[in-house]
Symmetry: C2
Subunit: 395 residues, 2 copies
Amino acid sequence: MRAAILSVGDELVLGEALDTNSQWIAHELLDRGVDTVEHRTVGDDRAAIAHCAVVLAAQVDLLFITGGLGPTQDDLTREALGDVMNPGEPLHDLAPRSAQLIANTHGTAPGLRTRLGGCEIASLPGPPREMRPMFGLVIDEMLAKQSSNTDLGTASINACGIGESHAAGLIEPLMRRQANPHVGTTVSGAIVRARVRARGESALAALPSLLTMIESAWEPWAFGRGEVTLPLALGSLLRARGESFATAESCTAGSCGALATEVAGSSAWFKGGIIAYSNEVKQSCLGVTKEILAQHGAVSAQVATAMACGVAERLGTAWGVSITGIAGPAGGTATKPVGTVFIGVHGSSQRVRHIRIRGDRELVRQKSALLALQSLRLELIGRGATPLQGEVGIP
Amino acid sequence: MRAAILSVGDELVLGEALDTNSQWIAHELLDRGVDTVEHRTVGDDRAAIAHCAVVLAAQVDLLFITGGLGPTQDDLTREALGDVMNPGEPLHDLAPRSAQLIANTHGTAPGLRTRLGGCEIASLPGPPREMRPMFGLVIDEMLAKQSSNTDLGTASINACGIGESHAAGLIEPLMRRQANPHVGTTVSGAIVRARVRARGESALAALPSLLTMIESAWEPWAFGRGEVTLPLALGSLLRARGESFATAESCTAGSCGALATEVAGSSAWFKGGIIAYSNEVKQSCLGVTKEILAQHGAVSAQVATAMACGVAERLGTAWGVSITGIAGPAGGTATKPVGTVFIGVHGSSQRVRHIRIRGDRELVRQKSALLALQSLRLELIGRGATPLQGEVGIP
């Protein structure tokens, strides 16, 4: 089965906003055995939308259109689909006559479902938060209306704190280009992922053992499969032990707490934290002494240790995790350049890590938060001595 | 002048990687007065690349192709361009006969420059680190070869805490479809943006007064133009007053602190905060009393008020900002459904807001953080009585 994706919006075609919908949809389709053969982006231009819809629908089995469904005058996807489906007729109740509305569970603008020739069409809202659940509502029905069923299985293994080259090297024999199952790696920030696709009965049968091999090769950095995030994996470990943790953050200023609590139900194992952006707060709320700050500087192994210990004591948790670093762009020195981060873990075992993270302010902060959670996870599984990507010796 | 962008790569069309090149190029072109009218993405498919190159070149003055120039067997852009330019002829020195090589200053694969009909074509490498400098090498020459010079100006106004329909309604007379300057709105989470494009001398002359009109209409929700983010706008106000603030966060668990500190130099006006995810931390670190918690519940105006006051006192800042709410998916009740959020501001003026946010856990948290910063900003400009989107009366 083949699909195409059409994104609509002046802001997209002119480069004022980045389209992430096309990738997301293509990825979802791939997981369901559907190959996407083309993405297109056009502006809020009724004729261009109609033209692309006709051309693409003639080539594929499934067409997804995103954007242009909003309430304003420059949202023209409905009108364009009307020009294609029922030319000359006015829209009825926001839709061309031969289209059905799709309820929007996360917003106001409904979507549209229709069929043109042999192609199933779904027109979805542009905001990802509205588009994604609506895609979930319609995809099964669209696939069911098209016949073929390819025996396709996909899976992924997620890891944190290992570089992509290192990770790929560890599974190189499994990564041949035309192999089936096929193994590829992707990286996003501090998360490396192995994606596996198997097509046909014998490849599907080989999938489970292949996944186990990748997990063994990536042990202990691998933390889960598929939709399992690092906070989710960490939460399961803490929940099983009946323990909780708290965060003491300087340069990340809350990112690590926010990350941990992306998981619903995280209150069972995350109690809170101290954002100690200034040295005064490090002293008053975490008990870091003026002497340690003066002697070693706020970005140091000693301060990270004191922060982790301080937050666990003051919030009464089994574990404390701390982050202090230089996110940049300013503040770097010859011995502590931008990207220097210290991560402390305090609990039934203790650890402090000195890491150099390459990247801009945003990336340094985002990676720091993930590596801090991975540091705690490694302590919990008794593998705290494992080095993380970019780790250097404590000076 | 009109442009199109063609991205090539199986990993892109199948959704295994996100294409950022098209947006980057379109944005660079926009800055040079060139409108991009279409993006396309196809896989590593020689016929598809050739077909798209021909179709797009017939419609635009400039065509940029990215990807498919690497050394491996599935890199086919050179061959496809050969099929278009010099069908049947072998490639000479990696290029079709009528194309020129472009040096790659940041990698190994050279690019290609050629012309098809009236269209200037540049074929650039896929990796952004190689593509961007190569774009810089060729763009001036490509623009020079095409004649026209369109006087194009673009600008945007950013606002927070107002719904898109409401915002669009306030500037409706300015949003006529074919108007020049043209005004459109976009929304992303709690941020609404007006985008203005002016073409030609008289429209450009009208741009400044038009922007002022939009800002007046969106006052006081509008916080800045162009790249000005809400944290940046808030930071400027605080810096001018020589004041700082601290956060007390429950459901957002650090997101608001992380958001504020996206701005480099934020340590001048942000000192830190307390992540009080559990009621124990609300008591021990913020001084919220057991009685208030028992009587009103953790998600209440009273607790928000106590949290904002507590964090300002304990961290010694002029202002305290608090967030307590039900991010979901669980925890909602009939009187306090998922999405119920209380935001407190404590300083030289006090405020507590009761807001209902539609959306999933992630959106509720993200919008809460933005609305909390906007609440503080409104107090600082003396407009604290302004309602925010979704605000309901304090029960």
